[in-house]
């Protein structure tokens, strides 16, 4: 074999090994964020752990489809969200607040005793899961709208409007204004990025 060709082959092998190592490292690093997102979707610790495990299994099986240079967190979040949409939401269309143990939702000392926070918990449960997820991604995880856009496959401006409406909705509920809960309607899915887990599940219009 040509020495130059051999060197190229070795370099390619090294790059592949490095990419594989990076993939697994990134996967471990993103797990806490994924668990938060899973909790936002399921509002149940057990279901959240199951969802993350399923998403990780899917990601490992589809690691070749991850495009380097794109957001790994958004890619994983996209897989997680689609697993939820295709599996969990069908199994349990709405998770009542009673299904979400207090300890799994609020452990913040005085806050836990706050009536306002309890009310917030209750109203969060009224939101569609996708809307709740987006709010947690932006408000708790500090995710940029650009990254969220990559995960949801929705333009940044649309996401900003959705978050704004979600906050306004929560505020209205908290203040006792009578408004209907946001509707979940089906619409053709817009794909954020390639994922083998995506199917024709309905997507929320927030």
């Amino acid at each position: 074999m040509d020495p130059i060709e051999t060197q190229d082959t070795m370099q390619a092998t090294d790059n592949k090994t490095l990419a594989t190592q990076e993939f697994h490292d990134q996967l471990i690093a993103v797990l806490p964020s994924l668990r938060q997102q899973a909790m936002a979707l399921t509002r149940n610790a057990h279901d959240a752990d199951d969802l993350v495990q399923t998403a990780v299994g899917n990601a490992l099986a589809a690691k070749a489809s991850f495009m380097r240079g794109t957001s790994f967190r958004a890619w994983m979040g996209s897989i997680l969200r689609n697993r939820f949409l295709s599996d969990y939401r069908r199994r349990r269309p709405t998770t009542s607040l009673e299904d979400a143990p207090d300890a799994s939702l609020a452990r913040s000392g005085r806050q836990q005793e706050s009536l306002a926070v309890q009310e917030l918990q209750r109203h969060l449960g009224r939101l569609p899961a996708d809307q709740r997820l987006l709010l947690i991604m932006i408000s708790v995880q500090g995710m940029s709208y650009e990254e969220a856009s990559e995960q949801f496959g929705v333009p940044v401006g649309t996401l900003k409007a959705r978050v704004s409406r979600t906050r306004a909705q929560l505020r209205a509920w908290l203040m006792g204004e009578v408004e209907k809960a946001p509707k979940e309607v089906t619409a053709p899915r817009r794909r954020a990025m390639p994922s083998p887990q995506m199917d024709a599940s309905p997507v929320l219009i927030i």
Partner: protein
Amino acid sequence: MNNHLRACGKEWPFLSPGKPALRSEASCRGGRHAASDAAFDVWLNHGLTGMFAHVAEEPIPPELITLIETCRRAS
């Protein structure tokens, strides 16, 4: 902002026992509306963080790490 809200008599959280809901910025005027919105956003972010932050701090289930490491060794 806080001083402004105190002036309005509307601080978040605004709920209290026996007082399930208060009117919002209706009694406030002009720029107070925006300040009230901002105050609510701050309160909301704080509340949500209190509810969800601990989830990211919990230890990762060992079986999940095992799954990933097994796949890493196999690849």
